[in-house]
């Protein structure tokens, strides 16, 4: 009786947590590569070496002592993002959209006093947001000015695009839209909306909010489906190339689309979440299996892989 739903999940090709961990992460992602993705600064440096575009880096803060010169360090950067190098799930990220007298303005329009931001950066350095509570580094990078395509379905903050890449082949993707609940963050567990993307043409499908399937953004009430993601092919290409710079065959690639700079690599994730399946209303397992069955030639270059994806994973229009 209880086994029947299990069978259904298997038939639809849903990838479960245990299988993801045992068959994909433990099997394809060597532990030695984790530090490169767990540390955003390292990822950024690596991406630069491979000429993969990322948001420009402004400042790196390594020691508490540097905070004394924080204001001086900021120079005249008017907007920027503060990130912990080893943060997880979007924690510890602060978006600064402007500056006022002795303070900053965040994406919600609230004023953050200077000492509050300094305290926050101290927290980051102490490791409060880092994976194992280890000492961390904070860095400031350029604030992304998001592509206008998602303006109607974004409540403040910056939407980003998550792509699951298996053995160098992008297999599933979604766009993550900040909501009022998620406080400008594009993380699903914080309440962002995940919207599946048709891999064949880069148009959005239905979305998942909390754990329910939705067709409209909960705050803006605009439909989330049918939006064309700009630069779709180059986005897929960046995702496909990411595997060249790091030895991880089951990878989550996070990108943003800057209205001026185009797609930028934000970070990599060695343990990508499974909620993307709900956003796409499709199981990952089938796609992973079809990659395993694909002819060897398609793995030759990122370009060939992307071409294969556009052809193979196009979601039927009727859906």
């Amino acid at each position: 009786m209880i086994l029947k739903p299990f069978r259904w999940l298997r038939d639809v090709g849903v990838l479960g947590m245990n299988r993801r961990n045992a068959e994909y992460i433990l099997r394809f992602n060597p532990r030695s590569s984790f530090p490169l993705v767990d540390d955003k600064l390292k990822t950024k440096q690596l991406a630069e070496a491979y000429q993969i575009p990322t948001p420009p880096l402004y400042r790196v803060i390594k020691h508490h002592g540097e905070m004394a010169r924080f204001e001086e360090m900021l120079g005249d950067y008017q907007d920027f993002v503060v990130k912990p190098a080893r943060g997880t799930g979007g924690s510890g990220i602060v978006l600064v959209t402007g500056r006022t007298e002795g303070g900053f303005i965040n994406q919600s329009g609230e004023v953050i006093p200077m000492k509050d931001l300094a305290y926050h950066i101290s927290d980051i350095l102490s490791g409060i947001y880092s994976l194992e509570g280890l000492e961390d580094r904070a860095f400031l990078e350029a604030l992304v000015h998001p592509d206008t395509a998602f303006d109607a379905v974004t409540y403040r903050g910056v939407p980003d695009i998550r792509i699951i890449v298996y053995r160098g082949v992008p297999v599933m993707s979604m766009v993550r839209l900040p909501t009022r609940v998620s406080d400008g963050k594009a993380n699903l567990h914080r309440g962002a909306v995940g919207v599946g993307i048709n891999m064949g043409n880069g148009t959005t499908l239905s979305g998942v909010y909390r754990s329910a399937v939705v067709t409209h953004h909960p705050d803006t009430k605009e439909p989330v489906a049918g939006i064309q993601v700009r630069h779709w092919e180059s986005i897929l290409l960046i995702a496909a190339r990411a595997v060249d710079m790091i030895n991880l065959d089951f990878l989550g690639v996070d990108l943003v689309i800057d209205r001026d700079r185009g797609p930028l690599l934000l970070e990599l994730n060695a343990r990508p979440g499974l909620q993307i399946q709900v956003a796409n209303q499709t199981g990952l397992l089938k796609r992973l299996e079809s990659v395993d069955k694909a002819p060897r030639e398609i793995f030759a270059t990122p370009e060939i892989r992307v071409a294969w994806v556009l052809e193979t994973f196009a979601t039927p229009v009727s859906n």
């Binding site: 739903p5 999940l9 479960g16």
Partner: protein, 509 residues
């Protein structure tokens, strides 16, 4: 990928199974733990007075014999030395040394289990010679008195002799002059000697033994009775009246073959007191006794050979892997969210001291107080390590307050909170706060409830005494636990919680 794991699990199971089989088949371990048995708690206490020279007090102690197990012996010897001697079938405890002007108190205690003896083959003991002060004339006379019973089997002969001691000589009775001569002999040598001579004359090996009646009692003196060999076993007789005790014999033997229980050289013993109490021996002790008496390799390497204070720790420790196994099950198959991986096991261990209700109450209490304070501290902008230190201090303060409160209210459970894993509690408060901030109070409460639930289930398992005993007797079961853990490590199926998480899929299909 799956194959090596399955092979490893099979190997582990095989090791576990092989060692258990060896124990059961060759070492005759019980498959089911034995039922608790009734036992007697014996204790002896006496004051030794000494003189100038070294004093020795020799006291007969109960020994393990057929139908009698002695365990948990404890000696109190004050400043004296204690040694154990064997004199024939007797165990003699010798307390020796210079006794100062003040009395020296010596003591002994033991747990004695009296079991119905199994029949066994034994050599018939030799007939002892007549007591030295009984002349040949008397010997011949008494031999003549009992000669008519010679054709009877020993047990029946004993019954006739015992009846004769009570004055019933059967039909036909002896001549009057013989009876008078017998009475004179009995009065001259005492009933005890007379009885022994009578038994000797009847060809029945007999001996006097000393010990205590098996009733709940406190007594200052021991009793003497006679044991007679009737071909298969020793039968016990009351020497004065010649009554035969029916088995189980309500007597506890201390010394045999006429050796007095108490002998003192250069001194005297006063206020000797024996106490007997009924008790129930736990299953633990019974295993312990069995294993301590064995010299097989596995028995010598048994956990029962550890000093007792460490055994208690290992009874629990050996079940912790099962707790971990439960966490594997609940997290990877059911999908319970928990704080950390092993917090629930540590909580479960702490619950053993506080009890479940108090333990859970205190857990929630400390976490909520901690959360409130943590929220407030957040405004102070403390750096990570000092902040965690503050919360740790708060946790310790809470625990101390609980203990003091418990003392006032007379609640032992509150005082046992010191054993809560305070470091883990501190991290739990921090995690609880972070999850509340990041994912909302609902998620935080869900995780806390998941942790508490897993802790309760784990506690229930740790508290199962039969399970504790089974693992203690068969520690190789840990290999089997490891095997299941290995298999769980390769379980790549869905979690129960994923049915809910991906319900959209199976509803639509």
């Amino acid at each position: 990928m799956k194959r090596p794991a399955i092979l490893l699990a099979a190997a582990l199971l095989l090791i576990s199974f092989a060692v258990i089989s060896y124990r059961v088949i060759w070492l005759k371990y019980p498959i089911l733990p034995p039922a608790p048995a009734k036992v007697w708690q014996l204790s002896m206490e006496a004051h030794v007075k000494g003189g100038e020279k070294e004093t020795s007090a020799m006291i007969g102690l109960p020994s393990a014999r057929r139908g009698q197990l002695v365990a948990e012996e404890r000696i109190h010897s004050g400043t004296l030395n204690f040694t154990l001697l064997r004199e024939g079938a007797n165990r003699i405890g010798v307390w020796s040394g210079a006794v100062g002007p003040k009395d020296e108190v010596i003591g002994y205690s033991a747990t004695i289990q009296v079991k119905p003896p199994r029949p066994f083959k034994n050599r018939t003991p030799p007939l002892e010679p007549y007591p030295p002060n009984v002349g040949e004339k008397d010997q011949a006379f008494i031999r003549r008195l009992v000669a008519k019973w010679d054709p009877l089997p020993p047990a029946d002969r004993l019954r006739r002799v015992a009846a004769a001691m009570r004055g019933f000589w059967g039909i036909p009775p002896p001549e009057d002059q013989d009876l008078r001569a017998w009475e004179a002999f009995r009065d001259k040598h005492g009933r005890m000697t007379a009885f022994l001579v009578l038994l000797r004359a009847a060809g029945l090996p007999a001996r006097t033994v000393e010990g205590l009646p098996l009733t709940e009692s406190i007594t200052g003196s021991t009793q003497t009775w006679i044991e007679v060999w009737t071909g298969q076993e020793w039968e016990s007789l009351q020497p004065e009246r010649g009554e035969i005790y029916q088995p189980p014999v309500p007597l506890l033997l201390l010394t045999t073959t006429g050796l007095p229980v108490i002998r003192v050289i250069n001194g005297e013993l006063s206020e000797a007191r024996w106490t007997l109490n009924r008790g129930i021996i736990s299953q633990w002790r019974m295993q312990f006794d069995r294993i301590m008496r064995s010299d097989r390799l596995l028995d010598r390497w048994s956990l029962f050979r550890l000093p007792e204070e460490f055994q208690k720790t290992f009874r629990i420790l050996i079940l912790v892997p099962i707790g971990a196994l439960m966490i594997c099950l609940l997290r990877n198959i059911v999908g319970f969210p928990t704080f950390g991986v092993f917090l629930p096991v540590l909580m479960a261990l702490a619950f053993r001291n506080t009890g479940l209700a108090y333990g859970l109450g205190i857990f929630w209490g400390v976490v909520l107080i901690g959360y409130v304070v943590r929220r407030w501290i957040d405004k102070l902008r403390l750096l990570l390590v000092p902040r965690l230190s503050v919360i740790l201090t708060l946790v310790i303060i809470c625990i101390t307050l609980f203990a003091l409160l418990g003392n006032k209210l007379g609640l032992r459970e509150f005082m046992a909170v010191g054993l809560l894993p305070f470091v883990i509690l501190t991290m739990t408060i921090e995690r609880f706060f972070v999850i509340t901030e990041e994912s909302g109070a609902r998620e935080a409460l869900r995780t806390a409830a998941g942790s508490a639930g897993v802790a309760v289930i784990t506690y229930g398992i740790l508290e199962l005494e039969p399970l504790q005993l089974t693992f203690f007797v068969y520690p190789e079961l840990l290999f089997a636990v490891a095997a299941v853990q290995v298999l769980l490590g390769r379980y790549t199926g869905y979690r129960l919680s994923e049915l809910l998480r991906f319900r959209k899929f199976w509803r639509s299909s």
